[in-house]
């Protein structure tokens, strides 16, 4: 096979740097690599995955991250604080929460009722009645903390571990570490990603090869039903004529190639057209929900308000998960930032996502996929226990709640504690780097060993930080 002529002259790293991309996973599938099958001559180069990965047996094969953009209020959702209600209107003193500054603001109690759910007795607010039914699948992390009190910095830290330097996103690292399980989909897909607060950087590949960039479907402000992948469809000519046109192009290209002999650039180009053409038919099929049963659509809340949009996003996430995508992010619009009217805001936002999330957990479970799918829920930070503008809450990176389900974490567990006001972590703080280390660990990747050489040094997702939270591993 002709491509052998240049394949073996490249080092592994060269391959990673130059290997063809985008949906080149088509030919770079882990299947092809595992079975030792070489790709067709006209295909882009192979093998996206570093040799020897995963580092140890994985508990999860994939991640679905449900991102609540704007910052959900932990003290109104997963971290009940009776003291807030008792002290409502009083000034929160710094010494009560272990910091030097005083007069932090007026304490504001939660307007919502909490109850314990499941065997584990997990406390969940009344705003999540459907999610609460799955309490025993969930591990609530109450002690997550991050840096960055503005959305942009916090989003970048959540998604890339860094804010002042451009670093690969978590999904890109997972793609780099594990590759795609799919023959025709990239390893990392982000559904309705934010365009602001770091935008594409939040699913970017930075210095990793471009194949590891998340493929974006739509963007946060557009309903997913109207989302398009750019240039997936030719608006002027039908597919029959386009095939004829492509045949002409490829015929001219092959002639150029035969003059050039074994030119990886031209071979790559020829391959990229075939992949593109194939994608034009496969992607719309996957994106359509026509093949889902009425009961599934109803369970998620498709075609019902206010759930329709998030339901479609979650259902799409499950379809991608089924087809072997490694890292799938689903984002809400920028709607969780309740500087005023936190009560009304949280009632509205939870109503959009509660049923779809519960349905996703149930659906994955029914299909036997929850065991090896890690579902992660959370925002870029929490919200202050103190009032802002009378009835709102401000940004709060000091501590907030996230939860995980499935994929090798203990269900029915609540991990970490905060002080009486939900202001700061007390026991078992989990920094964003720890969260990242733990996600990689569940996927069978050692966060200290998953490195990439760039500009003269080895980089990793967690920089020089990060500890796996072993206590939550099932």
């Amino acid at each position: 096979m002709r491509c052998h002529q240049f394949r073996h002259s490249l080092t592994r790293r060269d391959m990673l740097r130059t290997s063809a991309g985008g949906f080149g996973h088509l030919v770079m599938s882990a299947f092809a690599a595992r079975s030792g099958l070489a790709a067709p001559a006209a295909a882009p180069a192979l093998t996206p995955t570093p040799v020897g990965l995963p580092h140890f047996p994985a508990r999860a094969k994939r991640v679905i991250f449900l991102f609540m953009w704007g910052g959900p209020s932990h003290v109104d959702l997963f971290d009940p604080k009776p003291r807030l209600n008792q002290d409502t209107g009083k000034q929160l003193s710094g010494k009560d929460v272990g910091i030097a500054r005083d007069q932090l603001g007026q304490v504001m109690g939660s307007p919502f009722k909490f109850a314990q759910h499941g065997q584990g007795g997990t406390w969940i607010s009344e705003l999540f009645p459907n999610v609460a039914r799955h309490a025993d699948k969930m591990c609530v992390l109450r002690s997550v903390h991050t840096n960055g009190s503005a959305h942009g910095e916090a989003l970048l830290r959540l998604h890339t571990g860094q804010a002042n330097l451009v670093r690969p996103s978590v999904g890109a690292w997972v793609s780099y570490g594990l590759g795609s399980e799919s023959d025709n989909l990239p390893a990392f897909i982000t559904i309705s990603p934010p365009r602001g607060h770091g935008g594409v950087q939040n699913y970017g590949n930075a210095f990793l090869p471009a194949i590891h960039q998340g493929m974006a479907i739509g963007s946060a402000e557009t309903p997913i039903a109207k989302a398009v992948i750019p240039n997936l469809l030719n608006k002027r000519i039908g597919s029959g004529l386009q095939r004829d046109q492509l045949d002409l192009v490829q015929s001219l290209n092959r002639k150029h190639l035969s003059n050039a002999t074994a030119d990886p650039g031209i071979e790559g180009l020829i391959g990229s057209y075939e992949l593109a053409f194939k994608m034009q038919s496969t992607m719309p099929q996957i994106m359509s929900l026509d093949d889902e049963s009425k009961s599934t659509l109803d369970m998620y809340g498709v075609d019902a308000e206010p759930t329709d949009n998030f339901a479609r996003q979650c259902l799409l996430a499950r379809k991608f998960a089924e087809r072997g995508v490694r890292y799938i992010q689903v984002s809400t619009d920028y709607t969780w930032d309740h500087h005023s009217k936190v009560k009304e805001g949280h009632v509205t936002e939870t109503a959009k996502v509660d049923r779809p999330i519960a349905a996703l957990l149930q659906d994955l479970d029914q299909r036997g996929m929850l065991d090896d799918t890690l579902v992660l829920w959370g925002g870029e930070f929490g919200r202050t226990p103190m009032a802002e503008n009378g009835d709102g809450r401000n940004h709060h990176p000091q501590v907030f709640s996230m939860w995980m389900a499935g994929g090798g974490v203990k269900g029915g567990l609540t991990y970490g504690t905060t002080d009486d006001f939900g202001y700061a972590p007390v026991e078992n703080p989990v920094h964003m780097h720890d969260l990242h280390a733990t996600i990689l660990h569940l996927l069978g990747l050692n966060h200290e060993q998953l490195t990439y050489r760039h500009a003269g040094r080895d980089f990793r997702l967690t920089d020089v930080y990060g500890n796996v939270v072993t206590e939550i591993l099932a």
Binding site: A150, N164, R195, G199, I237, I266
Partner: protein
């Protein structure tokens, strides 16, 4: 496959394992001087003149080929060569007429004539200026957390293009960018040019919100050190921020010596933006009355909230007047004397008169509010802080953990003279700008090597040192160290003329080789490190788009000012802000908006430089998204249709039209088989479309054929 060139591809890390500096730690700057990149230039007289050569460059290439027993391929054909020269020098293909003229010009100086003409063309700066803009991490927005628009950045972009066209000596080019605000000037125009040039220091991405001011200052310095280090010195200095460098001869003290210069420089200031005061890029008015206009503009926004309140009060007063509510009016005026117009103050006047006077005041106030002054012309500019000072080492790189103070200065490994003194009350930026190209006592030799290698990289496709941004121990070794020294010396001797070096390379035989495959040479040197053939290269997105627009007759070659003026202060369309960067300008692609995190799709898909950080070599990746773009994007299809319309405008046979189309798009004639294939395709497509009821089947068929040619590898590659 042979491993003969292992030493070429293995990085210089090998030195470390051997321990090139005896017992000294890797960060020892004195021992580090033995690293090849810091060494004096080699004696270049040893390399013999080769018969094959057209230039001294070729002697070095020939010597290595001979040494390794590899024979180079023949020269490229004249059509290939002219296309290559045009693309590499000006980023555009030659027209069919220019190609024909060159092919027919038998004069021995034919190539020289073309090269000189292209070097003198304003198109040269648009191509080579963009190479520098990749390194300058040029963008029209801040990126990172808050993607605010850099409304004035385009002036810097155009300054770069103009400076490259004027062949401003590179040492001066650098100095103006590092310290243009501090240089003397003879005219306002010169002052403004230098101010704009110094935008280089300001244009980096910064975390803007919720950032501690001290941390922000250090982060800005880190970003500047990274950019200056990699773009000019080919050194990755960032590691020395937290600890003595583990690979490069850069102790932490050197890092903070540089950082002191940069933290003594400010590039941010508080200004009014989006209706509130924010920290944003530092700006200065341009032109004779620039400062006054800028102050007036800023004052308007600063005072707007007060002006609005004042107008509201005047309106309340009017209501009281109308209702004849003397008590209400008195209460209001007691607190706000300015709520009433002078003419309305006198209660003895008739009511109508007072109301009219008050109405007039309100009209004046409303008019002042409605008349925002136009945004004045401004430049992004750094300045020294009030009290420049040395910086403390930050332990483990933590901004709030102060260690020992270090005097401001430069890298010891490339400073043989400690005499450079930073005057009291100055940041040291001017001295830094001079040190970077100081051949005798500063980094000049290294900077020249790095630049010469970049020019080679852009002309040839691959650097002599392939890690173009890394000349340190973790970078690769040069494939032709003497050639690199020759190019660097030529650069310095020519007075740092980029054009002179481009010219020498363009006229070398090495540049003119065919890209043909040769089995014997490939067997020995599959990566073509010895330069036995030309590297076949894919067009970058700018050249790809420009070439399509040119074939379509749609390319507007006039330079462009701002391509982002219609955007609001928030550069990315988020939430209610629906205005997004446009790409539908007919001008060359170098003028398209570069919004960080929202690049034009074309740039995103075809490996444009990431504008968040200095980029010496763009990634070389082939992806399915590129296929989708070429198959389906409107811009491509519009260009194809316009090309087809031109072809159909003059009556000719289909055969001759196909020849015409090939020349117009690919710069060559089809062979017989290709002509037949195209004829069949057009005929079949036309009848297919006609049978589908298409009224315009002929145009559509020819458009589809032109589109096909745009999609070919011949169009997208430089052979």
């Amino acid at each position: 496959m042979t491993m003969r060139f292992a030493t070429l591809v293995v990085s210089a890390m090998i030195f470390i394992s051997k321990g090139d500096a005896a017992d000294a730690p890797p960060s020892d700057p004195v021992a580090g001087r033995s690293h090849w990149a810091f060494q004096p230039f080699a004696d270049l007289t040893e390399t013999p003149v080769a018969d094959w050569s057209q230039s001294r460059i070729d002697d070095f290439i020939a010597a290595r080929l001979k040494q390794e027993g590899v024979k180079s391929v023949p020269d490229a054909g004249r059509k290939e060569l002219i296309r290559r020269v045009y693309f590499q020098l000006v980023g555009l293909p030659p027209t069919a007429e220019q190609t024909q003229a060159f092919v027919e010009n038998q004069h021995p100086d034919a190539l020289e004539q073309v090269v000189d003409q292209l070097l003198g063309s304003p198109r040269f700066g648009e191509r080579w200026g963009r190479h520098w803009l990749d390194l300058a991490r040029y963008a029209d927005s801040n990126g990172l957390d808050e993607n605010f628009l850099f409304r004035e950045a385009w002036r810097y972009r155009n300054w770069v293009i103009d400076a490259v066209n004027a062949d401003v000596p590179f040492d001066r080019f650098v100095l103006e960018q590092i310290a243009g605000d501090a240089l003397p000037y003879d005219s306002i125009e010169q002052r403004d040019r230098q101010r704009i040039a110094a935008g280089f220091m300001v244009i980096g991405p910064k975390v803007l919100l919720g950032n501690d001011a001290n941390n922000q200052r250090m982060e800005v310095a880190d970003e500047q050190i990274d950019t200056i280090g990699r773009s000019l010195l080919g050194l990755t200095l960032g590691c020395a921020k937290c600890h003595d460098h583990k690979f490069e001869p850069v102790p932490t003290a050197d890092y903070y010596a540089l950082a002191g210069i940069l933290t003594s420089t400010q590039v941010m200031e508080r200004r009014y933006m989006l209706g509130e005061q924010r920290v944003m890029e530092r700006l200065v008015g341009l032109g004779q009355d620039g400062d006054a206009l800028d102050s007036e503009y800023e004052r308007y926004w600063r005072e707007l909230p007060q002006a609005r309140k004042k107008a509201e009060r005047a309106k309340s007063a009017l209501e009281f007047l109308k209702k004849d509510d003397a008590e209400g009016l008195k209460n209001l005026v007691e607190k706000n004397a300015d709520a009433l117009s002078d003419g309305a103050k006198d209660a003895t006047q008739p009511s109508e008169q007072r109301i009219a006077s008050q109405n007039q005041l309100i009209a004046e106030l409303d008019a002042a509010i409605a008349q925002a002054p136009p945004i004045p012309p401004r430049a992004m500019i750094p300045s020294d802080v009030d009290k420049p000072a040395d910086e403390s080492i930050r332990k483990a790189g933590q901004f709030n953990q102060l260690g020992e103070k270090v005097p401001r200065g430069f890298l010891q490994v490339i400073s043989t003279n400690n005499e450079i003194k930073i005057p009291d009350g100055k940041s040291g930026r001017l001295e830094l700008g001079q040190w970077l190209t100081d051949v005798e006592h500063g980094a000049g030799r290294l900077t020249a090597r790095v630049l010469a290698n970049r020019i080679w990289h852009h002309m040839i496709g691959v650097g002599i040192v392939r890690t173009v941004d890394n000349f340190g121990r973790t970078g690769e070794l040069p494939s032709h160290p003497e050639l690199l020294d020759h190019l660097a010396k030529t650069l310095i001797d020519s007075g740092w003329s980029i054009k002179a070096l481009v010219r020498e390379i363009a006229l070398s035989r090495s540049f003119a080789l065919s890209s043909e495959y040769d089995a014997a040479a490939h067997e020995i040197d599959p990566d073509n490190r010895l330069m036995w053939r030309a590297h076949r290269r894919r067009l970058d997105p700018e050249a790809l788009r420009d070439a399509m627009l040119m074939a379509a007759g749609q390319l507007d070659l006039s330079p462009m000012g701002s391509s982002v003026s219609y955007l609001g202060d928030q550069a990315t369309a988020v939430g209610k802000n629906e205005v997004r960067r446009r790409t539908d300008f007919p001008n060359r692609s170098v003028y398209l908006p570069v919004i960080r995190n929202d690049l034009p799709e074309l740039f995103e898909v075809f490996n444009f430089a990431n504008p968040h950080a200095t980029t010496g070599a763009r990634p070389n990746i082939t992806a399915a998204t590129q296929g989708l773009f070429l198959l389906n994007d409107d811009m491509v299809m519009n260009a194809a249709e316009a090309t087809a319309k031109q072809l159909l405008a003059s009556p000719e046979t289909s055969e001759s039209r196909i020849d015409h189309m090939f020349r117009q798009i690919l710069g060559l004639n089809p062979d017989d088989a290709e002509r037949t294939e195209l004829l069949d395709f057009v005929a079949k497509t036309e009848s297919r479309l006609a049978s589908e009821g298409d009224d315009n089947a002929s145009l559509r068929a020819w458009s589809t054929a032109c589109h096909a040619l745009f999609s070919t590898s011949r169009f997208q590659f430089i052979d």
